[in-house]
Symmetry: none
C-alpha cells in the first residue's frame, strides 16, 4: 500500500526547456510517509494518451498522483481522462461553481463561462479546497487505490499536498518510522566505492542504500524503515558503522554537508583563515568557498593567476623556477600557495596549477594538475591526473583541491 | 514516424532531489528533426517495471530513447530489460570488452570483473562508441521502431546524441527542412521581454518561438519548418529582423554563444586582455571567463578580494575611501578595477563589489552591487540592485558584470 506513481500533465512539460519540478515536492512529502514513488510520467494534453496512462498507473500503483491539467481550457483534460479511466461520470458541483464565482468577485473580475469546467468533480470524488487558485484538487478512492488530482502551478500544488493530501494518506496508512544517514565521499570513483561497500549494504534490504555519483563527489543515502524510530535506528546501526569504517578518511560528511561547507567549518573551529591561488580553475575554488553564507569569516580572498607572468607578478613565484620546472609542477604549486599565504597573511593557502585542455600549451598532457597547500609548518604539493574534457578537469581539480585542504587542515 | 518516448532509468531519479535533465537535451535534439516527444517516463532500477515500460513504449512510439542504467553494477538493468522486452538475447562482445579494458589501461587502472557487463549487446544492436565512458550506447531497429540506449552521465550522453543518434535518425526520416535562430539577451526580465516581442512572434505559428529564461539570461529560439531550407529561411525572415530590432543593444548573441564567449571574442578581435577583481562573487566571473577554451589568450588573471583588508592590500584601494564610502560603493568598484588593471597590466579590468547576503555586514541591503570597469580611458561604475537569495545575487552579479564589460569594451 505504499507504491506511488506521479503523472504530470501538460504539453509544455514535453518541450526542451521545461521540467516537471512538482514531482520533487510530491516525492519528498510522500517519502515522509514511507511511500515510494515507483514511476514518474509526463504526458501532454492528449486525451487518449492521458486516459491510457491513468489506467496503467491504477493497475500498478497504490497511489496515483496527477498534477496539472485542471485549468479551464479545452487543453485541460485531467478531469475527463480520470473519469473515463475509472469508468465514472463527471458531475457538475453547484457548490464549487459558486466558490469559483466568489473568488472572481473577490478580485473584481467576472467569472468566464469556461471556468465552469473547473466545477466538475469525478463521481464520488472529494474536492480539495485550493485557496490560491480556482481549480480544486480531487481525492478519489477506488477499491484499494487512491487517485489524487492536484493543480499544476507549484504555489497552488504545495499547500494542497501538505494540508490535504498528506493528512488523508496518513490516516489511511499504517504508521511507519523512517531514519536516514547521508554520507558524502570525495577522492574515489563510483565503481571503486561500490566494490568497497557493496558487501556491507547488499546484505540487508532495510536500510535501503542509494548511491549518487557526481563530479568527484559521491553521496550515499541510507534509509531505514520500521514500526518505531528506535527500531529504524537499530537497523541503521547494523550497517552504518561498518560503512563509515570502510570509507575512513574519504568520508567527509555524515550529514550531507558539501565539501566547501566542511572545510569552512574546520576553519571556523580553528579560528583560521584561508586564501587561494588558482590557475586552471580560474576562480572555481573561490566561488565554491564563498557560496557558503558567512564564508567571509574565514575566507580572505585570493589570486587568479592564469598566466605565468601573473604567477610571478601577483604571487612572487620565481621565474627561474617556472623556467626550470614549468608552471605545471609541484614546485610551482607550492610556491603559489606560499606566495598567496604571504601576501594575504592567511593561516592557510590553497593553490592549483595545471593543464585543463583541450590543447596543451605546455606540452604537459591535459588533465595533469598540481595542488599546493601552505601553512605555518611549510608547504605540500600533490599531483593528480584527471581524465576528461576541460570542464571535467576543472571541476575535479577544484574538488580535489578542496579535499586536499580538508586533509591538510586536519 | 516522428513520435518519441524517452525513458530515464535510475532509482536516484525518483528521489526528491534529482530530476531527469537528460530528457531536455534529447528532446531539443529530436525536435531538430521534427520528432516530437509524446511521453517522458522515469523508472527505477527495477527489472520488471523497466521491461514493462519498454514494451509499452514500443507499442505507442516510433522512437524509444532509453537513458541510464548502462553502468557495470547489478542495478544497471537497461540492457537486460531491453533484450527481454524485444525477446532477444544479450550477446557478449569481445571487441567491446577489449575496448573497455584498453580504456582502463590508458588511465593506469585495472578493469574490474563487473565492467564486463558493459560489453553485452542486445542481439542485432549496433554499438554506439562512447569516447567519454566505458559503456557504449546501443542502436536497435525492430520492425518500424527504433530503440536507442544512451549512458546516463550527461557528459557521455550528449556527444552520443549529437554524433551517433541524430545522424542515424536523420538518414531514416523523410527530409524536413528546419531553420533556427538562437538569440541570447541580457539585462531584462522574462515578462518584459515577452511583452516587447510577443506582438511580433504571436502573429505566426511557423516559426515556433520558445523563450527560455535563466538567471539574468534569456534565450529565444525561433524554429521554422518547411519542405525546403529556402522556404524555412523565408519564414524566419518574416519575424527575425523585427525581433532583433526590438531587442537592440540587449541582444548579445545571434548564435547561442554565452556572454563569456562573446566577451572573449571581442577581446580577441581587439588583441586586448582582461583582468578581474571580485568581491561578493568570489571567483564566479573568472570561472566563467576561463570556462571558454583558449581564454588564456586574453584573460590574464585577477584578484578575489573578499575582505576590505584584501581590497587595500591586493588592489591598493585607499583605506580612507573604504572608510568614507564603504566597500560597497561606486568609488571602491572603480578603485578595484583600476587597481587590478595597474597590477596586472591588462588592457581592461572588471570589478564587482557588493552585499550578497543573507545578512548584511555593512548595513547596506543585500542585493546591492557595484560594477567597475577600467581601461586606458579611465574608469566607470554602475550600481545594480538584485532581489533574491545569496546564490541569485551572486549569479546575477556575475552576469551583469560580464554584460557591463561587453558594453564598455564595445
Amino acid at each position: 500500500m505504499r507504491d506511488a506513481e506521479i503523472i504530470a500533465v501538460g504539453s509544455e512539460l514535453l518541450t526542451h526547456d521545461k521540467l516537471d519540478t512538482n514531482s520533487l515536492f510530491v516525492t519528498e512529502q510522500l517519502n515522509t510517509l514511507g511511500v515510494e514513488v515507483r514511476r514518474k510520467l509526463v504526458v501532454g494534453d492528449d486525451r487518449v494518451r492521458l486516459e491510457a496512462a491513468i489506467r496503467h498507473a491504477l493497475g500498478h500503483a497504490d497511489i496515483v498522483v496527477l498534477t496539472g491539467g485542471l485549468g479551464p481550457t479545452e487543453d485541460d483534460l485531467t478531469r475527463d481522462a480520470t473519469a473515463a479511466a475509472l469508468g465514472r461520470k463527471l458531475i457538475f458541483s453547484e457548490e464549487i461553481c459558486e466558490w469559483i464565482a466568489e473568488r472572481f468577485r473577490k478580485f473584481n473580475r467576472t467569472m468566464a463561462e469556461i471556468n465552469k469546467r473547473q466545477a466538475y468533480l469525478v463521481e464520488g470524488a472529494e474536492p480539495l479546497p485550493n485557496p490560491r487558485g480556482t481549480a480544486p484538487g480531487q481525492w478519489i478512492v477506488s477499491g484499494d487505490r487512491v487517485i489524487v488530482m492536484l493543480p499544476g502551478p507549484p504555489g497552488e500544488l504545495k499547500p494542497l499536498v501538505v494540508n490535504e493530501m498528506i493528512p488523508r494518506l496518513q490516516k489511511m496508512l499504517p504508521p511507519l518510522a523512517i531514519r536516514t544517514r547521508f554520507y558524502r565521499v570525495a577522492g574515489m570513483g563510483e565503481s571503486d566505492l561500490d566494490a568497497l561497500i557493496a558487501p556491507v549494504y547488499t546484505k540487508v534490504e532495510n536500510p535501503a542504500t542509494t548511491i549518487l555519483a557526481g563530479m568527484g563527489d559521491i553521496q550515499i543515502h541510507l534509509r531505514a524503515r520500521a514500526a518505531t524510530a528506535e527500531e529504524a535506528e537499530r537497523l541503521l546501526e547494523q550497517v552504518a558503522p561498518q560503512i563509515e569504517e570502510l570509507l575512513g578518511d574519504r568520508l567527509y560528511s555524515r550529514n550531507g554537508d558539501t565539501l566547501e561547507t566542511v572545510v569552512g567549518k574546520m576553519l571556523r573551529e580553528r579560528g583560521a583563515t584561508l586564501s587561494v591561488a588558482e590557475s586552471c580553475t580560474g576562480g572555481m575554488i573561490g566561488e565554491r568557498i564563498t557560496n557558503v553564507a558567512g564564508s567571509s569569516d574565514y575566507f580572505v580572498g585570493g589570486f587568479l593567476t592564469y598566466s605565468d607572468e601573473m604567477k610571478v607578478r601577483l604571487l612572487g613565484v620565481d621565474p627561474a623556477l617556472i623556467a626550470e620546472r614549468t608552471a605545471v609542477s609541484a614546485e610551482v604549486a607550492r610556491a603559489m600557495a606560499e606566495g598567496a599565504r604571504a601576501r594575504t597573511c592567511s593561516t592557510y593557502a590553497l593553490s592549483i596549477t595545471g593543464e585543463a585542455g583541450p590543447e596543451s600549451a605546455t606540452g604537459i598532457p591535459a588533465g595533469t594538475l598540481f595542488l599546493g597547500f601552505a601553512s605555518e609548518a611549510g608547504s605540500e604539493a600533490r599531483k593528480i591526473n584527471v581524465p576528461g574534457d576541460r570542464n571535467r578537469v576543472r571541476m575535479l581539480g577544484a574538488q580535489s583541491a578542496l579535499d586536499f585542504a580538508r586533509k591538510q587542515i586536519r
